[in-house]
Symmetry: C2
């Protein structure tokens, strides 16, 4: 049985009184009452929200990340597990956490269904020309835009087969799309018709009608989409970027759009955010720009807590959390 | 065995020569070569496309409808079956066809997947505020619109559970929506969580986050959505109209949008089409207008021919076509 370590209470066990310490979980963020209760009930721990530095220093598990946590981490503390509130952890002190042997689990997947839905929104705008109809509406013009199609049987290439890619693949299958994935080794993933290794990217790009970049940012993924990749794409294909801005070479994309090397793009993430008012991207032909909105979801906290509670069942038994655990060697 | 009636050829059958007449199928429209071949091969009939009046008068089955067919119908002809090229048949001389006992099958379902996809496009624009982001993009403004949500667990009420409703229900389920249907008798339909009778419409409307009108136009459906129905809807709910324009009372909808009785609307069909340049609808708050584009699909002819060929297997045996056969009493 796992040793509980804080805020003890006396309990009669086998005829003797023993001090049972209660684990402390501290959340940086506020949590809805019902979620806080669920967390306390299912872990048996004392749950503190909007925790102070002192409270964070006493906690074994911390939910969320800010400067306070960073401060606590460098001093004396009891931290064994950090549950990040973001999917990407490229801004975390990974080397320090690795050295201190602290588990770091991400919120990966918590906003994946929302991102996948937003990507379908972009795809449907492009396929059904809804953004073109919106322009026509503004001009009071009754006109059927050219080139309206169904997503049915169109080829979707998802680069990055993590939780976003998987959610997206599942939705795209419902539309009758042919769904292909690209990941590190080309291993097969559910809901994909086929998967290819990242080394094969340029070979599979020409076939795709829609290319979705859902890559994490790692030392290996910077500018994965650059001049060569856009050249390899069909000039009837659309590029959608919802992973991390730095995985796209913005100036190469700009050239590709201007020169008609690809049919259009939807971008939710950028090399520099916020996108400056005088960026030339805003007015490129056939571009849809959203202000890093794809991850917005009304289910975020619920899904992180559910993922955390799954992991807690292992942690409680002295095992490492398994879901969304950061591999410090890979950096994600 | 069905009697074939045109363009005979001699065939040796059981040692004797017999005249085998070849049925004639005439299409009003041009057909892609491969579809024409498929049709000829699978029916054994002679297939004429872009048929003249004389050719139409000789045909037992006519694909499509125009003034020529109307002319042929009123004179001497061999027509037994009309395969419409549209889903709605409210513009056909139904009484005349009923009286002449001519089968009329519709193209219902041929554009249903495309319409369903376009409806998902509207829903995702509303849920993910993509149209709001598009306005912000035009203003070079980096801003996360308020109220972005997932479709997950939202309640979708589809009024009309025909082929459009069914395609839509299937897609919506993939998004984790709760899908309810309204049809004449409230009979259950696949992919709907529950179905209600049209008499219960006003009782179920208040619960819906999205209401999709996919009704056919019949003597019973005119202005199904009028003042009372919009009042019954939640002020956070969206109305989407993709069936027939006349099933919506436009002026009541306009009032509902102006007074904030509903959150927004997407309209693809209108009481008067084309929508005039000076219509007040174009600039209503939170409205998306498309120029009857939802039915646009790159699979239209293929799906009609497939449906026709399914029916042909029955017809060939002297039975009535079953799929999409118009019931002249109901008018659809």
């Amino acid at each position: 049985m796992y040793k509980l370590n804080w805020s003890g209470k006396w309990l009669k066990i086998k005829g003797k009184y023993e001090v049972i310490f209660k684990m402390k979980i501290a959340s940086v963020l506020p949590l809805k009452g019902e979620l806080q209760e669920k967390l306390a009930k299912m872990t048996g721990a004392k749950v503190v929200t909007e925790a102070s530095v002192a409270e964070l220093a006493q906690a074994e598990i911390i939910l969320g990340w800010d400067e306070k946590v960073s401060e606590v981490l460098s001093g004396e503390n009891k931290i064994k597990w950090l549950q990040a509130w973001s999917a990407g952890v490229d801004n975390f002190p990974l080397a320090e956490l690795a050295q201190k042997e602290i588990y770091l689990t991400t919120a990966s997947g918590a906003n994946a269904p929302g991102i996948a839905q937003q990507v379908l929104g972009y795809l449907l705008n492009f396929a059904r020309k809804l953004h073109v109809s919106y322009d026509l509406q503004r001009a009071h013009q009754w006109e059927i835009p050219a080139g309206i199609m169904e997503l049915t049987e169109r080829k979707l290439l998802i680069v990055g087969t993590g939780s976003i890619g998987q959610s997206l693949a599942q939705l795209a299958q419902a539309f009758g799309m042919k769904v292909y994935g690209v990941n590190t080794y080309g291993h097969h993933v559910m809901n994909f018709n086929d998967c290819y290794a990242i080394t094969e990217l340029e070979t599979v790009l020409p076939e795709a009608d829609f290319v979705v970049n859902a890559l994490p940012l790692t030392p290996h993924t910077k500018h994965t989409f650059s001049k060569h990749q856009f050249s390899a794409m069909s000039d009837k294909a659309y590029y959608i970027s919802v992973g991390r801005g730095q995985t796209t070479d913005t100036s190469a994309l700009e050239t590709a759009l201007k020169e008609g090397m690809i049919a259009g793009a939807a971008l939710d993430v950028f090399e520099e955010e916020p996108l400056s008012k005088d960026s030339t991207l805003w007015d490129l032909p056939n571009i849809l720009i959203t202000a890093h909105t794809a991850g917005q979801t009304n289910f975020y906290a619920e899904r992180i807590i559910d993922s955390f509670l799954l992991n807690f069942q292992y942690y409680q038994q002295g095992l490492a959390p398994a879901k969304n655990l950061v591999n410090y060697d890979l950096g994600y």
